[in-house]
Symmetry: C7
Subunit: 276 residues, 7 copies
């Protein structure tokens, strides 16, 4: 066993001592950083909850998510450091594994994108369950805001699963009063002033009857001189999600008032010229 004697045991020993010291240092640093990090995150969320007026459930979701991500990152760094102590260059191992790494990196990127967007959707309260929104080309009621996907129930009953990374611009239709708008055409032969006064009467009556109307309705004036009719615009502000009902009521009331006052809603017109 000449070979074993050749090994320089003393060097090995010294190295082993250094390694053990390093390991101890890393573990202690790890524990300290984790404790401090957790405390910082807890305080941050307490302050955030007070300041931004976030509901308890939402704050808890965000808090536990942040803690999870923090501990995963810490464990990852911890493992890499330990490997480096043993002189296995793990990060090079992963980075160097170009083929696999690149592919996985892109995959993971999608996930991270989803989670980051989901985080801000929750934090900035852009979207809430039960909201009527338009995101990524889909229109409907939000059923669930997850970290990876948001579920939107279309008005025809379809359930749309939208990955959060697809959500850039959010159009939220449940943030305040909505507008009810009716464009109504009258004949070129009718008197505009008379039509407007009839319309305003209808508006005033509806305004007192319908409690869903917040403001108006009011007659704005001549919106267009169409090919067969003079278009007059009526505008109102309604409670949220009541805009369609108000518009339907407005249309019915206007039609009936026009019938009573003999104002015509004209069909398309055409002048026929006989060829000489």
């Amino acid at each position: 066993m000449d070979f074993i004697e050749n090994i320089e045991w003393s060097v090995l020993m010294t190295n082993a001592g250094i390694i053990i010291l390093k390991l101890l240092g890393i573990i202690i640093a790890f524990l300290i950083v984790k404790a401090i990090g957790n405390k910082v995150i807890r305080k941050m969320f307490n302050r955030l909850q007070e300041r931004e007026n976030i509901s308890n459930g939402r704050a808890l979701t965000l808090h536990s998510l942040t803690l999870n991500i923090f501990s995963y990152v810490l464990i990852f760094i911890f493992i890499v450091m330990i490997f480096q102590v043993f002189n296995y260059n793990v990060s090079a191992l992963i980075a160097g594994a170009g083929v696999v790494g690149l592919a996985i990196g892109f995959g993971a990127q999608g996930l991270v994108s989803d989670v980051v967007t989901g985080f801000f959707l929750l934090l900035e309260k852009q979207i809430d369950v039960e909201d009527y929104v338009t995101v990524a080309g889909f229109d409907g009621i939000v059923e669930q805001v997850g970290l990876r996907t948001t579920q939107i129930r279309g008005f025809d009953g379809t359930l749309h699963y939208v990955p959060n990374r697809e959500i850039t611009n959010v159009s939220n239709h449940s943030r305040g009063n909505m507008r009810a708008l009716v464009d109504i055409g009258i004949s070129y032969d009718d008197d505009i002033d008379k039509a407007i006064s009839v319309l305003q009467d209808v508006c005033d009556k509806l305004s007192t009857e319908d409690e869903n109307i917040v403001e108006g309705p009011n007659v704005l004036g001549v919106q267009a001189l169409g090919s067969s009719d003079v278009v007059i615009r009526v505008l109102a502000k309604t409670k949220n999600m009541e805009q369609w009902a108000v518009e339907r009521n407005l249309r019915k009331a206007i039609k009936e008032a026009f019938d009573a006052n003999e104002i015509e809603i004209p069909y398309p017109h055409q002048v026929n010229v006989e060829k000489k």
Copy 2:
């Protein structure tokens, strides 16, 4: 053979000893990590199955897939480590082979993208065989959800093979009740109230007769003042996939009720003015 004597055998020996020790360490680490990893994955899937209410078959598919991926990654790392012990920098070899690596990386990236998306499609139950879905612009019944491709049978009989990476937004039409919507135009000369009451009678009768109707149908009111007709909207909620049959029944019943009550569904109108 002076040359062989020149070789420093003792250094070689020491190196060999270190290499053997390293190899042993790697193999042991490999076995331990594999055992622990398998256990962790098994437990994770057990908990997941309980919590998320996943069917047994689906859970098994996901479990074996996860185990496969885990062991492939482990073997890859194992091989690279062993090469590194012999001082062949394999990862540099692969990464450095820029031309080939880049090309293969992009190819493999597509595969990984497919598998990752497929994994989440299965895990989050966004898509099930027999579902009627719209994904990547294709409309149809899901025939198979694979890890690389999803097969969708279009209503015209075409079989669409969609790589999973092409599936971002999923519109699933088989997740709950659907809407039946019929817009019906009446003449400007007809009485709106009478038309609405006739329509509501039709709706009430159908509602009791047709067990596919879950809610309604109800008359919403005047949806639009068209160029030749007053459009009234009727809405119902039906059992899944029965929306078209309900709509067809509604249309037939409305047409017959209007004929009986002499309410006109008007043709397009045009006012002819004779040129003076």
Copy 3:
């Protein structure tokens, strides 16, 4: 010749010995890996052929392709390793040649993309020669599925060369029965029930006469209340590629039955109002 004596021959000798040993090791490793790889690939394809029911010709094509790729990769690695033994960092050479490498890499990437997609097209049997498919916006009969390009013969006689990488979603119209669908408009004055019973008679007769019809045809009901006609939908399932002939027969039979029963297929209608 003082200079030659200055060279440290002993160091050179030792190095030469190590190099020769390394070369031998690489060659042996190369031979072993190649033999094992070939065996593994052969077994894999045997099992694949049994399980997936792939035709012999197709299996041979895929087998030889896989063997080729495997041996090219092996030879590439082999050459790089030998160069490294002589301390020429070949991979750095290639990777470092950034300008040329980047350009070629992108070029080669396209080729690899083509081959990878071609491989899966063949393996997953998404496309077969003689199939009627829609890929990359082209419609037609597949003439050839190559590793780089797929040739599709359009119905107007044009031959489309589609690089495989352009093929993502595959719509294969030759995978099972197809649908024949005829929408037919009847007059608002006609009786819907009578029209439906006439249509169903036509369908039943055709169903017994035409052996290309697999299921139906059946009358679904009132599909729409059009501006001038009540649209009724008829649906059938036919043998593959016979859907157009069945639709043509259906249309002719319906037209003749309607003529016989005096049911009108209406022209567009317009109500003319005289200007008072």
Copy 4:
């Protein structure tokens, strides 16, 4: 305890001395750079505020934002330097963690993009709260300009959350006078000169009555020879946001003036040729 004696304590000591000196140097440098940086930023903003005429609130927001970013970057560099002193290559650690780093990098990139764009939106005063703007395809009144998102209230009541990075071109409709434009068609049988003089009379009257009109309105001339009418264009410059009201008033006045002067706004014409 032979092993502890083997450790070369003197080398360790020397290293420790160097490390302590380096740490001191870094901390001092850190403090100096921070103090200088803060001073420079303060002066820069003072000068900027004077020169660019920025409101106090806006300047404070930008100032504190710049200070925050500066101190984060400094702390980041500080930490990395300290780690390097202890020979842990932190930057390599982060960079090498290719998979995670790449993914997070892309996520963070989005955030940075948002903040950078937000910074310039505020600095260059392209957007102000209460402005009527068109950005990223959304039309409406700006409700809030944040560092990450801008909130725009659409005219129909919808609240659009637009991430700042989506804002490239900004169309601000609240920067000066707006244009009111009315195109009016007269009959081919009417005299153009007479129509223009009637129109100009209307314009002149309105110009004196309506204080929202800044310039004009003026009759430009024959804008087009349409299929049934000669189109004449009227143009005015109005106070901001009053363009629609002015256009409505113009249309009503023109219609009434034409009625009074018997100038016809023609319906679409068609020449009917009887088939011989």
Copy 5:
């Protein structure tokens, strides 16, 4: 000259010897690789020419192109190796010159893309001079297939220069027989069977007269029930580029046969309802 004596001449000498040996090795390797490579390329093209039936001119073009590329790559590697011998890290020099290199790399990438695509266009015979093709949105006759650009003469006389990299899908209209298709509408009052028999007579006559017709023409049946006409489809297969002439002849013959048999090609119909 104390300084010159200080230089370790012996070390310099040894290095010089090693460098000269290395240079010799590189030059010899270069010559061998070049000779072998040329031979391999020549053989490859001989075999390719036999197997793929490529014309002599085309084979020569491809051969000399391949030889050129091969020798450029070899010379590039040769130069880099020689620089490395003198310890100037040329590849790092080029790669490190990030700014310039990146920019040039992208430029060169376009060129390489052009050449690679051009190579395959020539090799796979997707395009030939005088072919009628559709590539990159341009329609016309190929005038020249170069390595960088392809020239296509549009039917209106325009000469389109298309960089080869823009050519992905190639639609070649000069690869076999083409289809002539005529859709003809008959009146709803005409007898379908009679019309079809008249059409088939026309087709049979033309089929014997016109030698450009390869197959058919045949009457397929009722293609559609239009709003004013019953559409019948006629199909033929013609010699390449003769499809338009055949279609023109078909249309003229059908029109004349219909006139002779009093079958109407109907104008658009409209039912006029008088307002009660």
Copy 6:
């Protein structure tokens, strides 16, 4: 204080000497390069101003911008070099900070893109304040050309802020004479030659009266045989920005000349066939 004695003071001293020498060298090089660079830039701009005929203000803007960029780059390099002397690898620090660097890099890239494009917009005089241009889909008068954004005032009063990087193609409508084009339809029953001679008379008269017309107007001939009219085209060249006024005058003059000569501008025609 055994520890301090252990430090190898002599080595430290030597290093310190080298460092000081290096620092001196760097500072001297810095000063020389700066002086030379400034001189070169000044001369370059002097020559440029003479040759390209650039206005003084514009030249000053470009000059000071170039000097600023040059000195920033120099200072950056200077700092990095000094850090390298102290063995802190600053560039690695920045580059290695992959996450932050990548994100900032992309942000800064946008700024640089803006500035580079702005530089060329100014230098090549593609855009001037007061020009009427179409860039990035926006139409209007240029109000300001900045280094980061260009401000364009739309004709409706909107102010568009366009980041320079969005400006690729510039369509400048203020670079020379413009075209006035009027297409006029006459009846199929009118004599083409008579109509053309009447039109040419109108053109000749206008040409002498209107000093905004540079060339023409001339009658080109029969531009199209429309469905109801024979379209004749009239073309003129006008002073810049006067094209619309000239077109309006042309239309009015033509209409009046046609009325005087009894040439009809026809309404859409339709042949009515009575159903037998």
Copy 7:
């Protein structure tokens, strides 16, 4: 001054000697490479000019451009090499300055792209001043082909500045004869043979009269059976840029010939069915 004595002067001296030798070598290599390069470029352009028939001015432009680029690249390499001799890793400095480098790299990339495309536009003569071309969506006459931008004068007088990198496909309308095409509709009641013979007479007459016609015009036959007319196509080949004048003459001559021969160019037809 113990410290100065500690410096190992002899090592410094040796290094200085090596550095001076290296510098000399680099300078000599630089001069040789430059001389050879210039000669090679000159010869290349001489040969190119002879072979490709390039005008003198164009050849000079390309020649001086190539010389400039070559000398810039050489100077860049020269500077980097000299810095490397002094052990300042300049390339790392530039490359490492990731933030700035990346940003500038992208900016410079655009410039290089412009210049490369401009180079090939000039060399391959795809575009010439005075040509009528369609590039990057712009239609017009080329006014200037620069290395960075191409100026195109639109037919409406607008001057389009197109960066060369935006120019991929070039459609040059000034490369040979153009096509004149007139589609003319005759009545369904007219005799096709008579119409064709009248048309051919017109064509033959025009062909002898108009020297701008190179080939034809010829009557091709029945191009379509329209809804109200039988469309007949006439085709001619004309001198470049004369196609529009020829088409106008053709239309006028055909209209007059049809009037003389009482062949009708029909208005749109409609069959009116009276509602029973």
